[in-house]
Each structure stands twice: as structure tokens, then as C-alpha cells.
Amino acid sequence: MTNNVIEVRQIVKRYGEVQAVDGVDLAVETGKVFGLIGHNGAGKSTLFKMMLGLVPATSGEIRIDGRPVSGAGFREVRRHLGYLPENVVFYDNLSGLETLAFFARLKGVGRFACGPLLDRVGLSAAADRRVKGYSKGMRQRLGLAQALLGKPKLLFLDEPTTGLDPEGIREFYRILKEMKSEGATIILTSHILSEIQERVDRLAIMKNGKIQALGTVQSLRETMALPLWFELRLAEGAEPPLRRALAAIGVDEIRIEGERISVHCQREAKMSVLQALAALDGLVTDLYVREPSLEDVFLGYSG
């Protein structure tokens, strides 16, 4: 008995000659936040659509809650599923509240749930205005409200923060955190890597329809063995002893650009470099440790 709410096995999607998704295996554990990263055209949205049963796979198998994503049984799964499509589009002639009420009816959620949800995403002041006059950010908020209808157990969010201002992005992740604490499983895609790396439990990096890497942010960093570097501020005349001390532990990559002195080393050497620097009593006046960001991991894998 696994604890996986989503299981993707050897899934392939071909559009004519184009291999949009090429043999993806994936599992997402219940209650986790899972991030999917990749360039445009990497196959993220296609994979999403297959997981939602919107696009049939060419081959392979996807199960959500243990059920295949087609056929009559999947309707029940859909009742507990929230989806925010990339570039969400609504009906211009309806107001925000009417839009939400329409989707609430389809999901079998009472109309009384709509007002508080609009409040939650910060749209209650615009509830009775037509969606036609909404900004991109407001549409995105309405899209999120729609995805949250009926307290879904599983949330699919495709580029959820596009169009949101920094305040909106913060609010979005606050809501996401609340959903997670209520036990929801969340799967999201993003281009803004620095934004999601602190907020996902696991992530997958996609390139050309394939999963290039899969794991926690930490495990990806470690398997990549990306070098890290120290940025130093030195006292007068400290450079020669610094070079000597570092050469003694086999670190010789020292770059000097004007005032900035940086020391590059492998991850395993991190602590010994720190000790060597500490031993240079008083010569190093300040120090920053720079770790590779997920962005570096991402570019390293799929750049």
C-alpha cells in the first residue's frame, strides 16, 4: 500500500512527429507540495493535462487516488480536484461572483461558499464587477478561488503566480500553506525557480518531454555536486597567506575582481575551507557563503 496520490508510469504523448512527453515516471505523495520545472515546451502543461484526463496519453498509465484518469470513476476524483490552468480564461460577460457560482454548481458546492472564497483571494470588492474589466492578477486570483472550490484534496496549479504582484505572490503562498496544512496535495509548475525552491517538498525538472532530475532541492544540489564559493573581505596584505593556507588543503581557485575576492571549492571541502579561513586570525574581515540556487541546478541539468 503506497501513500502516493498520483502515480505516473511510462507516460508518452506524441502529437504527430512531436514527442511532447517521452516516458515520464512520477509519483507524488499525499500531503506534499510537488514542483514541476522546465522551459516552455518542456512538456509540463501536457503532462498536467494528461494527469487531469483532459488529453489522452499515447501510451503509459496514470492513476490518481488509485483510479485511471478516464472513464466514469474519474468523475468522483474530479469532485475533489482543483485545477488552475496556465493563462486561465473566464467568461467576460459574467461577474467574478457569477463565474465562481457557475463552477461551484458544476462541482456541487453550495453558493454560500463563493463569497468567503472571493474574500480569501482578496477579490470581494470586485465580486460584482464583470470579469471583462479584471486585470491579469485579478483573473489569476479568481482562478485560484475557482481551484479552491469544495476544499480539494488535490490541487493542480499551472504557473499559478503569473500576473501576480509581489504582495499577491506572498498571499498565494500563504493560501497554499493553509491548504497543505489542511492535508491537500499540491502540484505546481513555475518558471520563477527562486520563488518555489523554498516552498516545495520535492521537485522534478523536465526537458524535452523527459524528467531530467527528481528529488528534494537538497538532494538535487548534492547529486549535482555543484561547487560553492566564499566571498571574502580581506585585511591589508592578507592575500599571500590566504593562498598558502588554501593551497595546503588543495583549494586553488581564487578569483579576484577588484575588491571582490571569491574562493571556489567543492561541496566536500566546505568545512575544511572554513577552518582554514578561521585559522587566518584577523586577516579575513568578512565572509559570505554562496550556495548554488535551484536556478543553477536547473540550468546545470537542462541548460
Binding site: 468523475r75 474530479r78 480536484l81 480564461v89 457557475f102 463552477f103 458544476l106 462541482k107
Partner: protein, 276 residues
Amino acid sequence: MTILAIEPRQIGIIAAKEFRDRIRNRWVLAVTIVFTAFALVIAYFGAAQQGAVGFRSIEITIASLVSLVIYLVPLIALILGFDAIVGERERGSLDLLLSMPLTRLELLLGKFLGLSAALACSTITGFGLVGLLLGSRLSSNAWYNYAGFMLSAVLLGMAFLSLAVMVSVFATDRARASGGAIALWFFFVLVYDLLLLGTLVVSGGAVAANAFPYLLLLNPADVFRILNIFGINDVRTLYGLTTVFPERLASPGLLGAVMLAWIILPLGLANWRFRK
């Protein structure tokens, strides 16, 4: 299995939205006015070619209205329906809709029924108003004929709506869908009968004569014409229909069933395609 698992509630929600949209953007009102105005003009001036104006017998009026409806209702139905699915697809709202607990068949039926309700509302109100105006001089038999005319006009509209929804599923974009819809109108309303007549004349009546009545059933517009013209004795001879159309094929029950088939088949085809 999936085909049987239909939730009428979901169909109703989609249909109600479509219908409400058409009420709110005044589509229903506009088309009602068009129907009323045309019907009034035709009822009054329909016999102008014969050198007379004014309201005449209901039979002649119905015959004139049938000619109008045959052009107008299919065109309006096709324009109303061609956007149904391809519009959602092109705007980008289809995926969200289909991620709901809603099957594709339910979405199709909801769209179709909501649009049908809008068209039926305009048809019955528009022609009903004119009927009421003529009302004082109508016998109960004439009312029966007029009601039949309105009902068959609704069915004709639904048949072409069904075709429009089918086009909407098959087309890859709105431009193609509108092209397809217009092509269907040309084919069924303008070209089909000419083709039949042409075949009949060119072959000297030998080739298609026996098949002719059946071939007429393959066009919902012709079915509508026969339904209305054949039922009225005065007009039947006027149109010379007795000579080409056998009595046994002219029962309203049978013709109604053919019309229903014209509503169900395109929708069925649309559903088959939509599920792929």
C-alpha cells in the same frame, strides 16, 4: 458504460448558463423581433405577386412563412451554434470546464439544449405573436396547423443547431467552424434541392424518380417543408407535391421521427469525435 453515466444536473447547469447568456446579451430579444417583423410582413404582403395585399387565409400564410423559415431558421441556428465548443477551445476555457466533474457528452448536451431553448424561445414568441394577431379569424383547425408549423420550426432549428454543434467539435478554429456552418447552409438550403431537380431532369426522370421522396428525407429543410405543406390540402396541390411525394411517407409521425433523427445523429457524431 461512460455513455450511460449521465448526470442531468450537470447538463442543466451548462444549458442554464447558455440560455441565460443569450437572454442577457439580448440575442433572444433580437431574433424574436426579426421573426415577428418578417412574419408580419409576409403575412400581410405575401400575396403581393398576385396583386393583392392584406391578411389572407391561414393556409396561404403558413405556406409563405414556411418559405421564410426554411431560409432564416437554419441560418440563425448555424450562427448560434458554430461557436459552442470551438469558441471555448479557442478562448482557452475548455480545459477548465472539462476538469470539472462533467463529461464531454454532458457538456455537448448542455450547450445544445441551452441554445435550443434560446432559439425555441425566439421562434415561439416571434411567430406566436403573429399567430395571436391572426388569432381572431382562425378556426381551431387552423390553430392546429399553425401550432404544428411553430413546433416543426423549432425542430428544424434544433436539427441545424445539432449540425452546428457537430461542426463546432470537428473544426480546429472558429474561422473554419463559421465557414463550415455557412457551407452547410448553402448545401441544405440552396444546393440540395437544385441537385435533386437537376438529376431528375438530366436523367429524364428515370434515375431518381423512385428514390426522390426518400432523398427529400435526407435534408431536414425538405422534411420541414413537407411536414407543413403536405398537411394542408389547399397548398399541397398548389405546390404540386401530390405528384412527387407518396401519401404513405407524409405522416407527421414519420416525418417527425426523421426530424428527430436529424437532431440526434449529428450530436452523436459530435460526441464520438469529441471523446477522441
